[in-house]
């Protein structure tokens, strides 16, 4: 695995190996952010269900 980092002298972007620690932290932060997305989707689905019930089961 690698990531783009700025080379100090030329400013060119080169791929350098990312250390395992940073990778693990990135992975875990992504997992936490995905929970936010999942939560939003579930709330949306429930809102649709409630709306459907209100429409069809008066």
């Amino acid at each position: 695995m690698g990531q783009d980092r700025e080379d100090g002298e030329g400013g060119a972007r080169v791929a350098v190996p990312a250390d395992a620690f940073a990778d693990a932290v990135r992975h875990d932060r992504r997992f936490e952010r995905r929970l936010l997305l999942k939560e939003a989707l579930i709330l949306l689905a429930i809102a649709l269900l409630v709306a459907a019930r209100a429409l069809f089961l008066r």
Partner: protein, 498 residues
């Protein structure tokens, strides 16, 4: 005047019924905070640190599991020279001392066997024996307190330790997962419960900056923090983990939950075993509530532990049996005073229940899909079959107003007015009765052939009401001033990495 009083009385009843929604709304608020954890967590402050860590393992007659535990701890992904294992043998009478002596010889300088000649005083005393030895020497920069049967996933300690790079953090806990293999129905219920009570609730507590409890099977303390709380664990209660957590935070340090550090543990597989374990925890919670009575809802005394959300989370669980009983009793009274009003309030309560149930269940499955694949039935049936039927009846009225009577008529039964009213009253009292049925499940378990019905009773009553029944029993024990005995949970070494 009389009419006014009657109206006031009805108003009070409506309020008490709707108080039954407080735990539901608190759960909803807690789960909403998990989303916030996506952007507001402690991962931004971590660094690649691996402090010299002393692991304390309290062991009493753990001969079947302690050898493997020591080997697995030493094999964790952690610098070899920064890890020591101290097993405190609480006067074991099985093979534990022999197994440990062999491990000490096998790993000199890395494994210590600390023997207590007088045992049986409880886990806190055992831990303190180990802590005295560890803190007498300045080698350890951090102390990891665990249970003898747990299995740390290879990177779990490293993931916990990275938070100690922040000096504001005093302690870190991990996500304990039920790991019994094969797992029975109760293990699967516990598996699902731990998603809600740990993976979910503790993320929300991270957002609040106040932790209820560091899991007893996985708590990493910085040395500074441990010394600040006296270098010992509270021995005067049955909730030593919660007291340690509160003391750590009251000393001004944070307790953090690391949900990506996974630790597998063996949990009880009988209602009797679960009852014993949870009664100890619930009695401990009564003791914590009393000990910190000047703290709750007093932000000026403690900015985080005294916060409104933290207090609501604590008391919504602690008082849940009372909310359920109050709600049921008021509904029944309201039914006889003003039946249409009772019906409307009941509807509102159970619609709230339905929405929260859907949100909590679906989100729990999304938080830990691995456990959800194994425990999805128990997740769905967590409130019990009867409560689910009431939720369905509330959300889909035609199902019960038209379809059920039609099916009954096809079966040659004529549902009359009396039956309908009996069904309504049953639904009103169910919140309380579910606890009685759950209690009956415990009684049946020890009644010979009847024990086969015990799981059925749990599925019908629900696992949630079973926990409420235990909490209610804890109130009675504490009110009676019952003796505090340390009933160790039986472990058989059947936990496995999933």
């Amino acid at each position: 005047m009389i009419a006014l009083l009657a109206r006031g009385g009805l108003g009070v009843l409506v309020v008490v019924v709707m108080a039954g929604a407080i735990p539901l709304l608190a759960a909803c608020w807690q789960f909403l905070l998990i989303g916030v954890h996506g952007v507001r967590n402690h991962l931004g402050a971590v660094a690649d640190v691996t402090p010299r860590t002393a692991i304390v393992v309290p062991a009493w007659n753990e001969g079947a599991v302690v050898g493997a535990t020591v080997e697995r701890l030493l094999a964790m992904d952690y610098p070899r020279d920064a890890l020591r294992v101290y097993v405190v043998d609480d006067a074991s009478t099985d093979a534990t001392p022999a197994v440990l002596e062999a491990k000490v010889r096998e790993h000199p300088g890395r494994v210590w066997h600390l023997r207590r000649e007088q045992g049986g005083e409880g886990k806190a005393h055992t831990l303190n024996h180990g802590l005295r030895t560890i803190l007498a020497d300045d080698w350890a920069e951090a102390v990891l307190i665990i249970d003898a049967d747990v299995i740390f996933v290879d990177d779990a300690l490293r993931k916990m330790a990275r938070h100690l790079a922040d000096p504001a953090v005093g302690a870190v806990t991990a996500y304990i997962k039920e790991g019994s293999r094969p797992a029975n129905y109760l293990n699967r219920f516990v598996g699902y419960e731990y998603i809600t009570a740990q993976a979910a609730a503790r993320r929300a507590q991270n957002v609040l900056g106040a932790m209820v409890c560091l899991a007893g099977g996985a708590q990493l303390h910085s040395r500074t923090s441990l010394e600040a709380i006296g270098g010992r664990i509270d021995t005067t209660s049955l909730a030593e983990d919660t007291f340690t957590t509160f003391m750590t935070q009251r000393e001004g340090r944070r307790a953090v939950f690391e949900g990506n550090a996974i630790v597998w543990a063996e949990e009880p597989d009988t209602i009797g075993g679960l009852w014993k374990q949870r009664l100890r925890w619930a009695r401990g919670n009564v003791q914590v509530t009393k000990r910190y009575k000047r703290l709750w809802f007093r932000k000026w005394r403690d900015r985080r532990l005294g916060g409104l959300s933290f207090g609501v989370f604590w008391f919504s669980i602690f008082l849940m049996p009372l909310f359920m009983i109050g709600s049921s009793a008021s509904l029944v009274t309201l039914y006889f005073a003003d039946a249409p009003l009772a019906w409307r309030v009941f509807h509102l309560l159970w619609i709230t229940n339905a929405v929260v149930y859907l949100f909590v269940t679906l989100f729990s499955f999304a938080i830990d899909p691995q456990t959800a694949r194994r425990s999805w039935r128990e997740g769905i049936l967590f409130p019990g079959v009867v409560s689910l039927a009431i939720i369905l009846a509330t959300c889909l009225p035609p199902l019960f107003h038209r379809w059920v009577p039609a099916v009954l008529r096809l079966a040659g039964l004529a549902p009359g007015h009396a039956l309908a009213h009996a069904a309504i009253l049953f639904a009103y009292v169910w919140l309380s009765c579910s606890m009685l049925v759950a209690w009956a499940a415990k009684l049946l378990e020890s009644r010979g052939r009847w024990r086969l019905l015990s799981p059925l009773f749990v599925y019908v009553a629900g696992y949630g009401p079973l926990l409420c029944a235990i909490t209610f029993t804890a109130y009675i024990y504490e009110a009676r001033g019952a003796e505090m005995t340390w009933d160790k949970t039986e472990k058989t070494g059947k936990v496995a990495l999933a």
